[in-house]
Symmetry: C2
Subunit: 701 residues, 2 copies
C-alpha cells in the first residue's frame, strides 16, 4: 500500500531538498546517464555534498569518487542508482540497509519490459520497503529542483534550454514529457523550479511528488502529465490542499482514446481509466485538464499571468478587421460571448476612432493605428471599464515598420493593472509576442488558442466557485444482496430503488394471466407484461416484453407467448411483472458503475433506444447536488427539448435530478455489493408531475 508523503516524512526532504546525494554508477563523462546529474548539480550550484560512487575511478568530474556506498563518510540523504539490472537491485539492498531514506532508480528494464522485468522490479521494491526506503522509478529520468540545484536527472534538455527558477512544478509519469513541458515553459519565458519524472511508479507516484512540491511555499502552479491514475484519494488530497493554498493544478491525462489507452498500456503498463470518469474527477476536485503538453503550457502561461475571468463575455480589439472576424468566430466556437459594449463605452470609442470605424465589439482600430500609435492605448482605456467585459483579447496579426509595438505593450500593461481583468494577446510575430510577454501578458499564436484558453479558465473558475455537496450522511440502507456476479430480478431492483426514494413504476408480481387480468381491470389502463428472470436480464431481445395490452385476450396471449419462450430458454421458475403502461414526455436514463479507482460513477442522460447512439449522457462522481445534475442536464444535446418545444410542456427535470441524487446516495450506501445499476427508461413527465423509472437492473459484484 502506497502512502502519502507528508511534510515530516524524511523522504520528502531527501527527494526535493537533499543535503547529500550519492550517484551509484557515476561517470566522468557528463553525457553519460551516470555523469549528467553530477555535471548538472555542479553547474547549477547545488550546495549539498555530491558523492560519486564508481569502483573503477578515483575522481569523477573533479569530485572524489567512492568504491561503494558503504565507503561514504556519511549516510547520504538521497541516492541515484544508474547501474543496470541485478546491480541496481543489489544497490537498492545496500542503500536501504544503510538507512538512506530515498533512492531514484534511473535504470530501465523493469516492469515496462514485461513479466520478467516486473519480477525484478518487485524484488527491488520489496528490498527497499523492508527497510523503509522510498523509491522513485525505476525507469525514471529523475528529479530536478532548480531552487537548490539538486538536479538528480539526466534529461538532455537542460543542456539545450537554460534553466530559470520560478513558481512552477512539473511532475510527470514520463521523462520525455517532463522535459518537453519544461522546454515549452522556458520558451515562453516561464520560470520552472521542479521537473520530476516518476517512471514506473513502483513506489512514489506523481500525486505524492505533487504533494511534496506543494510544501514548497514558492510553488503556485503544478503541472502533471499522467497516463494512468490508480490512486484517486491521493490526488484528491493534493487537490484539496492545493485549493486551500491557492495553488492551481493542471493535468494532461493522455490515453483518452481507445488507441491512446492501448499505447499507454504498452508504454507504462498503465491500467486504462474511463475518460469520462477522469473528466468528472478533475471537475469534482478543481483540476484543470489540458489535452496535451502544448495546451498545458498555454494554460500555464495564462494562469500564472492573469486573474481568472469572472464571466463568459470577451471584448476583442485588433488593428485588423479580418482578425476581428477570426477572433469572434473562435470566441463563439469555444462558448465565449462577444460582449455587447455599453452605450457609454461606444460613445467614448467614437471620440477616438475615425468617424467611419465601428464602435461595436470586436473593436477594429483599423490601419489608422499606423498614423496614430496612441490610438491603441486610447481604445483600451475606453473599453476597460465596460461593465459587460469579463476579459479582453488584443489581436495584432501584423505590426511591422511604423507600429510602436513597445508602446502598445506598455499601454497593455497599464491597462491590465487598471482593469484587473484577464487580458490576452494574439500575436504570431516573435517580436510582437516578446514585447507583450515582457510585460507579463499571456500571448498566444492564434485566436483559437487564446479563446480556448480563456474558455478553459472560465470553466475552471466556475468549478472552483462551486459548492461541493455534503453527503456525510447518505440516506439509503444497504440492500439485501443476492449472489455475487448475478443480477437482481427487475422486480427486486425496482423494490430496492423505491426503498431508496426513487420513483418507480407501480407493479405487481404474478405467476399467471388471471392475476394479471384482474390487475388490468383494477387499474383501468393498458398494461405491460414482462417475464422476469434473474437469468435473462435482457428481456426485449427475447420477446419477453408485451406493451400496451388493453384486453383480457391480449394479456392471455402475451402470457402464452412468453411462457413458450421461457421454456425454450430453459427457465423453469417463471414470474411475471405486470404494470400499467406509463407515458412521459421523454425517456431519460440513469446508471451507476463501480470503478476500481474512483468508486461509484453515476451516469445520466438521454435514454430509451437513443442511449447508445446519441451518447448524450453525463458523468458525476459523488457527492453532488440536485443543482449539479440540473447544470449537467442543461448541457445535454436534448436540453432544448426538456424546456418544451412545439407546444410541449417543460419536463420535470427537478424530479429527474432528485432521482439521480437518490441513485448516487444509494450507490454509495451499497458500494460493496453492487457492480452496476442501469435504469432505462426513466419517463419524464411535465413539470410538477415527476418522473417514473419503468425498467431497471442491478448487477451484483
Amino acid at each position: 500500500m502506497k502512502t502519502l508523503l507528508h511534510q515530516n516524512d524524511p523522504a520528502l526532504a531527501a527527494l526535493l531538498n537533499p543535503s547529500s546525494v550519492a550517484i551509484i554508477g557515476a561517470s566522468d563523462n557528463p553525457d553519460k546517464i551516470g555523469g549528467r546529474p553530477v555535471y548538472y548539480m555542479k553547474k547549477h550550484g547545488y550546495t549539498g555534498k555530491i558523492y560519486p560512487v564508481n569502483p573503477t575511478r578515483d575522481v569523477i568530474q573533479g569530485e572524489k569518487s567512492w568504491r561503494s556506498v558503504q565507503d561514504l563518510p556519511e549516510v547520504p540523504e538521497l541516492v541515484i542508482i544508474a547501474v543496470a539490472g541485478q546491480a541496481a537491485v543489489d544497490s537498492v539492498k545496500a542503500c536501504s540497509e544503510l538507512g538512506i531514506p530515498a533512492a531514484i532508480v534511473i535504470t530501465a528494464g523493469f516492469s515496462e519490459t514485461g513479466a520478467q522485468g516486473k519480477i525484478l522490479q518487485d524484488r527491488l521494491t520489496g528490498l527497499a520497503a523492508a527497510q523503509g526506503m522510498r523509491i522513485v522509478g525505476p525507469n525514471s529520468q529523475g528529479l530536478a529542483n532548480f531552487g537548490n540545484g539538486a538536479i538528480a536527472c539526466f534529461s538532455t534538455l537542460f543542456l539545450e534550454i537554460e534553466p530559470g527558477d520560478g513558481p512552477v512544478s512539473v511532475i510527470s509519469q514520463s521523462g520525455g514529457m517532463s522535459a518537453m513541458i519544461y522546454g515549452l515553459l522556458r520558451n515562453r519565458g516561464i520560470g520552472v523550479r521542479h521537473v520530476h519524472a516518476t517512471g514506473n511508479e513502483a513506489d512514489i507516484t506523481v500525486g505524492q511528488l505533487a504533494m511534496a512540491s506543494l510544501h514548497d511555499p514558492d510553488i503556485r502552479l503544478i503541472l502533471m502529465y499522467l497516463e494512468s491514475l490508480q490512486n484517486a484519494d491521493e490526488l484528491a488530497a493534493v487537490a484539496a490542499l492545493a485549493k486551500r493554498r491557492g495553488v492551481v493544478l493542471i493535468a494532461v491525462k493522455a490515453g483518452h482514446s481507445p488507441a491512446g489507452a492501448q499505447a499507454a498500456a504498452s508504454h507504462t503498463g498503465a491500467l486504462a481509466n474511463q475518460d469520462s470518469t477522469i473528466n468528472a474527477f478533475f471537475e469534482q476536485h478543481g483540476i484543470l485538464r489540458a489535452r496535451d503538453p502544448h495546451q498545458l503550457v498555454r494554460y500555464a502561461e495564462f494562469i500564472l499571468r492573469s486573474p481568472l475571468p469572472a464571466g463568459n463575455q470577451t471584448v476583442i480589439v485588433s488593428n485588423s478587421g479580418a482578425s476581428c472576424v477570426l477572433a469572434a468566430d473562435a470566441a463563439e466556437d469555444h462558448g465565449l460571448r462577444v460582449a455587447p459594449l455599453s452605450a457609454g463605452t461606444q460613445a467614448d470609442l467614437s471620440m477616438h476612432l475615425s468617424s467611419f470605424a465601428t464602435t461595436r465589439n470586436p473593436v477594429d482600430i483599423t490601419a489608422a493605428l499606423l498614423s496614430n500609435n496612441r490610438l491603441f492605448g486610447q481604445v483600451l482605456s475606453c473599453i476597460g471599464h465596460d461593465p459587460k467585459a469579463d476579459s479582453f483579447v488584443i489581436d495584432i496579426p501584423v505590426a511591422g515598420r511604423g507600429y510602436d509595438v513597445s508602446a502598445f505593450a506598455q499601454d497593455a500593461e497599464n491597462f491590465v493593472s487598471d482593469s484587473k481583468k484577464p487580458v490576452v494577446v494574439v500575436a504570431w510575430q516573435p517580436a510582437v509576442a516578446m514585447a507583450f510577454r515582457e510585460k507579463n501578458i499571456p500571448v498566444f499564436d492564434d485566436e483559437e488558442q487564446a479563446m480556448s484558453t480563456l474558455a478553459a479558465a472560465r470553466r475552471f473558475q466556475t468549478g472552483l466557485a462551486r459548492t461541493i455537496a455534503d453527503w456525510s450522511a447518505p440516506a439509503g440502507k444497504p440492500i439485501a444482496l443476492g449472489k455475487a456476479g448475478s443480477t437482481l430480478s427487475e422486480a427486486d431492483t425496482l423494490d430496492a430503488l423505491a426503498s431508496a426514494g426513487m420513483a418507480v413504476v407501480d407493479y405487481i408480481r404474478c405467476t399467471d394471466a388471471h392475476h394479471a387480468v384482474a390487475y388490468w381491470q383494477s387499474c383501468k389502463r393498458p398494461v405491460v407484461v414482462k417475464a422476469c428472470s434473474e437469468k435473462r436480464p435482457h428481456k426485449s431481445e427475447h420477446g419477453l416484453v408485451a406493451l400496451a395490452l388493453d384486453s383480457a385476450a391480449k394479456i392471455h396471449e402475451a402470457f402464452d407467448n412468453q411462457s413458450a419462450m421461457l421454456e425454450k430458454l430453459g427457465i423453469t421458475d417463471p414470474c411475471w411483472l405486470v404494470a400499467p403502461m406509463e407515458k412521459g414526455l421523454f425517456e431519460l436514463a440513469a446508471g451507476v458503475h463501480m470503478d476500481p479507482v474512483f468508486g461509484p460513477v453515476i451516469m445520466a442522460g438521454t435514454g430509451g433506444k437513443y442511449i447508445e447512439a446519441l451518447q448524450d449522457v453525463f458523468v458525476l462522481l459523488p457527492p453532488f447536488t440536485v443543482g449539479d445534475v440540473m447544470d449537467k442536464l442543461r448541457a445535454l444535446q436534448i436540453a432544448p427539448l426538456l424546456h418544451g418545444v412545439r407546444g410541449d410542456p417543460a419536463a420535470d427535470i427537478q424530479a429527474f435530478a432528485e432521482l439521480v441524487v437518490a441513485l448516487g446516495k444509494f450507490a454509495i450506501s451499497n458500494a460493496a455489493g453492487i457492480r452496476s445499476i442501469d435504469i432505462n427508461p426513466i419517463l419524464v413527465r411535465p413539470q410538477g408531475l415527476g418522473v417514473i423509472a419503468v425498467d431497471a437492473l442491478i448487477e451484483l459484484s
Copy 2:
C-alpha cells in the same frame, strides 16, 4: 454584372504581369503608402516601366516623376491610385479615359465606411466601367507578383520577411490576412509568388484573381481568405479549372459564427453566408476549407510537400512512449485509425528493436535511439511497406545532445521517396523542425496539428475522388404556383411532392366529419385529422391536429374542436386532411431553402420534434446521388440507430436517400417559384418497406 477574367482579357495581363505601372500619389518616402510600391518594384527587380505621378516632385526614389497620367510618354498597363477621396475618383476617370486597362485603388474611405462612402465607390466604379477599365479595390492593400517583381502593394511585411518565389498564390479579401498568410508561409520556408488583396471588391473579386493566377503555369496551390462569397458560379469555375490542372484550392471562410458574421459585416459590409452551405459548396467543388490562416498554412505545407493519403490508417513512430500515446489520441480524435501492423512488419521490427519494446503501432523506438542512431532508419524501413499504412507520423518530442537529427532527416527523406506515402513530422524544437523541412517533409508543432492535417487531407482526397452526379435532365415538371410569399396548403404540397416521385401519405381532403368517418371505416386503421389552411402552416401549435382517432365519436369530436379553433383564428374556408395513422422506425426530415448565392440548398437528417434540438442534419448542394445521401446519413449522430439496435430492424435508408434526391431535382425544376420546402416527419420503415412523408409545407417565393 461582374465578369470572369479570361486568359485573353487584357486586364489579366495588366494586373498580374504589367509592362508598365503608374503610381498616382507616388511618394519619395518608401514608408508612405504611395512610396512603398515604387520601392518594392525597384528592389524586387521589376523590369517594366515605373511611372511615379506626383505634381509636386521631379524625381521620386530615383525615377522621373510625372505631373499627371496624361503627361506619361505611353498609356501604362496598370495604375495604382493612392490619392484620397474625390482625387481618387478623378484619377479613375482620367485613367479610364486614357484607356488604361486596370487600376488598383489603394485609397480607403469607400463602401467600408457606410452609405456615404458607398455612393463615392459607386461613382468610381461607374466611371471605370464606362470605359471598360477594371478596378481592384478600393481599400485594397494591392497585388504582388514575386515572379516578375510587380509589387503593386504597400504591405509592411515584405520588409520584415524576405520574399522567395514559389508555386503558391495567396488571394484575400483582407489586406492584413494576405500579408499574414504570406508571412506564415515564408516562416515555413514556402515560396510564394502571388499575394493579392481585393479590398472592397467593387469590381474584381478573389475568385477572379484566383482564375487569373490559375493561368500562371507555375502555380500549384491557391490559398484564399474570404469573409463573404457572393458569386458561387465564379468560384465553381475556378475550382473546375483548378481540378483539371491539378491545382489545389484551400480557403478560409471567416465569419462562420453569428458573432463572426456580424464582425465581417462591419468589416467589409459583407453579406453573411450560411456556414453549412459554404461547407457543402466547398465539398461539392473540391475546395479544402481551413478554419483560420494558421490552419490554412499548415494544410498548405502538407499539400505542397506530400501526396494525399489513400486511406485513414496511420502509423506512428516516436522516440518517446508518451508521444506515442498523445499521437494515438490525436489520431482517433480526428477520425484517423492507428493501423494494426502486419505480422511481417512486426517480425521485421522485432529484429531491430530491443527485446522488450513493443512491435505494435504506435512504434516506440525508446531511448535506445540515443545509443544507436541508426535505429531510426531501420524502423522506418520496416514499416514502410506495411500494407495497412496510408500515412506515417514521425514524432520527435525531444532530441538534444546525442541524437543525430540530420541523419534522421536523411533517413526520413529516403523513406519518403521509397514509400510514396504521406510522411509528416511532429517537432517543436526549431533545430529538429528545420532539419526535416530542409528535406521537404511537412513538420507540425504538435500531434493535434499533424493529425488534423492528415485527416483533412484524407477528406479532401475522398472528395476529389467522388463522382459528381449528373442532373442534366432533372425529372420533375415545374408546379403550378400560388401567390408569391404565400404557402401551399399541406394537401397541395403533398400532391406536388408525390407528382415528383416522393412517397407521401395516402390522404383524402374533406369538409365534414361524416366523410372522414367513412374514410376511417374504409381504411380500417386509426386516422389523423388535420385542419388545413394556407394561412396557418403551423397546425400543431394551434391544436389543429388530432392523432390516432379510432372511433366515429373521436373523429366527430376532433372536427368540432378544430372548427371552433378555426373560427377563433378567423379562418373561413376550412378544409380537412384525413389520413391513416402511419408508423415508422424513425422520424427523419428533409427540406430545401433557396439561397440567393447558392440556389437550392437541400437539408436532411433527424426529424420529428428532435429536429431543432439535435441539429443532427446535413446539407447538400445539387447535383448529388443516392450514394452521396447515404454517405451523409452514415455520419449522422443517429446513424447507429438506422442500422437497427435492441432488436429493431434496419431502416430503409436507401428509400430515404431516393426521396432526398427526388426532392433536390424537384427543387431545381421549381427553383424560380419556391422559397422553401419543409418535409417533417418522414417516417422511415424497415428495409424494403420504404419511407412515407406525412407532413410537408412549401413556401412560395
